[in-house]
């Protein structure tokens, strides 16, 4: 009788031990998977942001690819990449710049004064620097996470 009672106690303890181990491994698995999921989502978001920033600037420049159409404008500590459109009757300038943690664009007539606060927000970005060297525009945009994306865009029609 004593042996039987002892056997029950061991079996009961084993069941609970098994349950405990199972619960522990389940928790570890959930944590591991959650971390992997978070990493994947973060990485995807980072590359999506990079793609949006790059394609926005590339498309803006490609759309107005003409001789002397690109320039860099600095005012009030804001660096703006300017794209001048001379195809229409009046000259229009598109300013692309970063202000207030956002990449912004502003369409103005040549004679109008550039006001960074008046631009339309496009997507989050913390800073933009650009230089125009001959037929090449070098742009560096820093994302909100501090990562810098540098890319070059060449004139196609005015080489």
């Amino acid at each position: 009788m004593k042996t039987q009672n002892g056997g029950h106690a061991i079996s009961g303890a084993f069941v609970f031990l098994l349950l405990g181990v199972f619960a522990l491994f389940s928790t570890l698995l959930v944590l591991l998977c959650a971390q992997a999921y978070r990493n994947t989502v973060d990485q995807t978001a980072r590359h999506r942001d990079e793609r949006i920033l790059q394609s926005f600037v590339r498309n803006a420049l490609r759309a107005e690819d003409a001789e002397n159409a690109f320039d860099v404008y600095e005012a009030d500590g804001v660096t703006a990449l300017t794209v001048t459109d001379t195809r229409e009757t009046g000259e229009n300038v598109r300013y692309i710049y970063c202000d207030g943690g956002m990449l912004r664009e502003s369409f103005l007539k040549v004679k109008e004064t550039f006001d960074p606060a008046a631009g339309e927000a496009v997507c989050p970005a913390s800073s933009l620097t650009a230089e125009v060297i001959g037929g090449l525009v070098r742009v560096q945009i820093t994302g909100t996470d501090g990562r810098a994306y540098a890319f070059s865009i060449a004139h196609r029609c005015a080489w």
């Binding site: 039987q4 056997g7 029950h8 079996s11 009961g12 084993f14 069941v15 098994l18 349950l19 199972f22 389940s26 698995l29 591991l32 998977c33 992997a36 999921y37 990493n39 994947t40 990485q43 995807t44 980072r46 590359h47 990079e50 793609r51 790059q54 060297i133 001959g134 037929g135 090449l136 540098a150 890319f151 070059s152 865009i153 060449a154 004139h155 196609r156 080489w159």
Partner: protein, 133 residues
């Protein structure tokens, strides 16, 4: 039903549950690993494509492909230009041919991951003899 029998039944039930969850977790883990590696590969392809595009634009702007490739860090090996990056290799091949009143300068910029080409961007310029260097 005796106490011992009830305990054995509970043990078997728990074992079946553990087995089922172990099976499910294997499937879930496999999916997560696949998603993660796919995401990393997509990021790598993205990075390589952007790099190739940048080199192509630098070539367009310079007009002199060989010196532009050299200043970008490419090395001429085995009849082609090569620039190893951390996770991929940039390759470039250039060609010049006479075409009527000028010359046609062509280059192909590619990115290769583990020997497999993932993207190629062609760069072609027609330079009339009057402006050719």
């Amino acid at each position: 039903m005796g106490k011992s029998s009830r305990l054995n039944t509970l043990l078997v039930e728990i074992l079946i549950a553990v087995l089922f969850f172990a099976l499910a977790s294997t499937v879930v883990l496999e999916s997560f690993v696949a998603a993660r590696s796919q995401s990393r590969l997509a990021a790598l392809y993205d990075e390589a494509a952007a790099d190739v595009q940048n080199v192509a634009d630098e070539l367009y702007a310079s007009g002199d492909y060989d010196s532009a490739l050299e200043s970008a860090g490419f090395a001429f090996e085995n009849g082609g230009w090569r620039l190893p990056r951390e996770q991929y290799t940039l390759l470039a091949a250039t060609m010049e041919e006479n075409a009527g009143a000028g010359k046609l300068v062509t280059a192909g910029i590619s990115a290769a991951v583990e020997g497999k080409l993932i993207i190629t961007v062609p760069v072609t310029l027609y330079i009339p003899w009057e402006v050719a260097p």
